[in-house]
Symmetry: C2
Subunit: 241 residues, 2 copies
Amino acid sequence: MRSDSVEPAGIQGAKVDLPTLKKHARLGDMAYEAMKERLIRGAFEPGRKLTVRAVAEALGVSSTPARDALNRLAAEGALVYSGPKTVIVPYLTMEALQEVTAMRLALEGLAAERGAVRAPKDLPDLLTEYQAKINEGLASRRYAEVLWMNKEFHFSVYKCCNMPYLLTTIETLWLRIGPSFHDLYPEFAIQKYGVHNHEVVIESLRDGDSGAARAAFENDIRDGYRRLKQSIRVREERSES
Amino acid sequence: MRSDSVEPAGIQGAKVDLPTLKKHARLGDMAYEAMKERLIRGAFEPGRKLTVRAVAEALGVSSTPARDALNRLAAEGALVYSGPKTVIVPYLTMEALQEVTAMRLALEGLAAERGAVRAPKDLPDLLTEYQAKINEGLASRRYAEVLWMNKEFHFSVYKCCNMPYLLTTIETLWLRIGPSFHDLYPEFAIQKYGVHNHEVVIESLRDGDSGAARAAFENDIRDGYRRLKQSIRVREERSES
DNA sequence: GAATATTGTTTGTTGCAACAAAAACTTTGC
DNA sequence: GCAAAGTTTTTGTTGCAACAAACAATATTC
């Protein structure tokens, strides 16, 4: 058995950042944000069991806010119930991947196109910086960092469309696929995760071609789909043998 | 002042239905479902204040599950904070309406088309029944019932695409516009809410034309948009005077 | 030895009381 | 009459203990 799956030590890592508090400094929201970031970074292996008390201890809060965060994550589908009293980081099934991908194409396509139209002139420069950090991360094998900067890259374009609720909805989609990147961490460096598509995005923004920007993001999403699909296949074959 | 805004009596109405419990019978989920239904039915006037204790008493549960439900609803944007300690049913702003409509077109378009492809042969008959109930409701001015049956109509098509997460995401979009129909209750009967589009949906399904079904749903969404847009305009003009 | 029963432990949910902060209301001052 | 300051009440969050349900490990029986 994996006894470490319930150890608080396995959840810690980066102490919670306080600057997240914007309007209402609720402990439950903080716990939610903290867990969300870990999920998107692929910090948790699919199948890991998360308990209220462990999360509470790891985050230094009592059980109420920890439970709030876990419940909210489970409601969004970022965590699932493997039993009546056990929430785990979900294994991405093929059906779930296809569903999330279809939704990502619809929603991120919308956000990308509208964001590109309204993007400020200096956005391409910012994106170039992000891309540099992604390349650095790939070179130094800091994959959690790569995933996080990748998220920053996408969302700094999406953000421009000024649709806050669309943004949070897309975030919940990323929450669902994030953990599965954990499995293919070493593969990132080889396949140059998303590099080419991102370069096309930057170029399209410089040209003011929002349609091309959308197409590049859609390509990126489809590339991610293919990679995860392969990863799922491998896992399923391994579990069958 | 509207003292009734915090009265439990204003929240009651239909006692909570137990059959909702599917897998995990949590009191918090029940409270969430109960509030969700009321919101979609337009039972709450925008601006109404909802307090933890009032919801708890109205639903016959303690404050913990009531707080869970309110927090989840607020996280989804179905309720908003008007102050640090006050959650209200939101007034739909023009920006929010446009955002929700864009997302509805993307997501419900997807669900409608894929659902139409996989719809069972007897679905048109079921939809015809629903439509009959909608017409009855319009005639007898039971508008909350009309809104609920309208939801059943849409979702029984969407359900066919077998994308559970897409469904719940669409539901949260409905949650955001539901309350605003409260304002134009009397207007329903005159404008024959959604009747024509629904008939086209049924016909398209009988023809096996999924593209036409999608187009009909999109028309329905755009009609709803126009109606709500007008309602917002009226409200804004009234508040300016 | 394997299947089943049993016991002990872990775990989520729930209700509740305490606290601090924000509303609502009242009074005061001009 | 109106605005501002102070007071009272309401309200959300939090931590905690109790409970019941599920889980894991052990013992028991065939």
